[in-house]
Symmetry: none
Subunit: 198 residues, 4 copies
DNA sequence: AATGAATGAGCATTCATTCAT
DNA sequence: AATGAATGAATGCTCATTCAT
């Protein structure tokens, strides 16, 4: 019989992920110390290696947890609602989850800008550059005539993602007064109507 | 009498900055090795410390050089031109300079996302969150009725910066097919007109 | 009632010894991992500690098994045969057993050269420096006038052992083309007649 | 100007090699700690890495020093002398040098028996299985009719090397009473005349 | 007996920075 | 100013062994 039950093991894994998110958030990927994560999770320094292969593996697992959490929170999108509302609920869910792991998210963003693609591949299992869910909403809206059709759905999706990511960056700039909560509304406004006088 | 003339010293400093930009670009801030920078500049490994106090100091100096270069390239903006053209020339100049130091820019972006504000203060001399030049153009355009007036010039400026930065991020994502050259036109289109059908 | 029968236990022990021999052979004493041995034997990683006290204890047990096997294979020596034939059958039996555990034998040899005598004592139960069986054959041959009598039987025995061990070493040198099978004949030739012209 | 002169640097290297030989001798290759070697040489723990790339590199360097020392001590061989005398002076020189680094030699022998060829390649720059100097002497002696000609010079050289190595092994066996000094004479006697009654 | 999670000592290597020359 | 040897703090990861179940 194992020394701890499967449920204890799962709990330990949770605690490690949680401690890791905090540690990465506070110190960044390079700055975080594996031993500290393990100890912060209430385990001995080496124990984390019973759960993860390496520091990069821990990082990857935290990202995955974030990703799952996002899908979970997004929930179902109502296809019949105006594009505005559909996008709003997606953006709000995203910002909510991002807020939950606020500081880790910043670190994760940071690592995407890692110098070498090889290292990056080590950190992210895969990176789907276009968000499928958003693209679906965009396509429907184009079909319904709500969004421009002179740009492909991929292009319009990237526009939304770029704008959102840019806002997040802005939010993370030192001394920024842009809060996470305002982002969805701002993004929607700018995304849909642009800056030109109508 | 100094052992090397002032001009030699200036040249050594240039070479160090140049080597540093390349090294930071290739390996990131953490990954770059001070020794390598000094040697790549044709000097002995310790010599860089006669020019800079620390690795962070070198980084800061590279950023400053980049910043100066940006202002230099932008040149004068024609106040009378349509807002579209004014913004285009700013964006094109920015992308040109970014292109010149492509990889370093990515690293610099990355470091702005550093976990702790203290460390960041160590890296960046100051960080003016809103670009004054762009804001001026926006204000004029609002006055001329070319841009919406229900948002402040600060807000519209941030919109432009966020979108541009988001596009840069997109450009730097692994396997992205978005090139630097296309960014100004895309940004302008999205910025001015948004995604909604007109 | 024990949870496994005595015969199951004996079989587990066998499997562990066998897996250990393979592991030590492939990785050496230091390189071998206790966990791997246990798992390779089809048991859980900690189970090996129900059979052996420590890694050194496992190693010792493998050596003992090898030693028993050697005696078993040698069988009876025909006292009446020429010394040449007696020695040949001993050497051939030894090389056969060595061949059976080829790679482990190399590791065992290696460990005999361990730096500290204390560690060695931990690894080998005892080490009888002169092989009694060979010495008996040598003594008989001296009595029969077949071997020189100006050297003691101990000396002549050591000569044989040194030469054989030296050949094994040679066989184990990287890129050696000396095979185990040729060793008995070569050893006999050199041992009996030396290198000088007769 | 460097902080220490070239001669100081050379001396440091010597001290490191010396400390390394002692450390490897006492603890074996695996057991030796790089830090300890550096500190034992009177330098800070990291300084050894200014002289060598890795632990394996240090080991290699000690082997090379041993090898050079052997050539140096062997000196010139008198081609005209009887084969017996030529071989004796080679063997005596070898045993003398081996004696000088007695314990390290044992460790080096041990590592030649390393399980994997790749690791070995990491330790030894190259391994010439037949000693050229001895082979030359053997060839001359065969030409002069002093040694058997039914075996190639390579074979007879290997015979000598195997016997010598076997004796060294014997000498290193725990509780052996065979001294290094006796080895040359014993080897010569056995090598030339074998064990059979003449 | 069997299991396998937990433990924590142990270690090679890196590299920013110092400073004697 | 330039040099480059010396320094030593710092850390990811391994693995023999323990022991609760």
């Amino acid at each position: 019989m194992p020394r701890v039950s499967a449920s204890t093991k799962a709990e330990h894994r949770e605690r490690l992920l949680s401690a890791a998110a905090a540690e990465f958030a506070a110190k960044g990927l390079d700055g975080a110390r594996v031993d500290d994560i393990s100890v912060a999770a209430g385990l001995a320094k080496g124990t984390i290696y019973n759960y993860f292969d390496s520091k990069a593996d821990v990082f990857r697992a935290v990202i995955e947890a974030w990703s799952s959490r996002t899908e979970e929170v997004r929930g179902e999108i109502d296809d019949e609602a105006p594009v505005e509302d559909q996008l709003r609920s997606i953006l709000e869910a995203d910002m909510q989850v991002t807020g939950e792991i606020e500081e880790f998210a910043r670190t994760a963003f940071r690592e995407v800008l890692t110098a070498s693609p090889e290292e990056l591949a080590d950190l992210l299992p895969s990176w789907d550059p276009v968000d499928a869910e958003i693209q679906r909403v965009v396509e429907n809206a184009q079909a319904a005539g709500e969004l421009r059709s002179d740009r492909s759905s991929i292009e319009l999706t990237r526009f939304l993602l770029s704008l959102t990511n840019g806002m997040l960056l802005e939010h993370w700039f030192p001394d920024s007064d842009l809060t996470l909560e305002e982002i969805p509304e701002l993004v929607l406004d700018y995304y849909l109507d642009g800056a030109r006088t109508r």
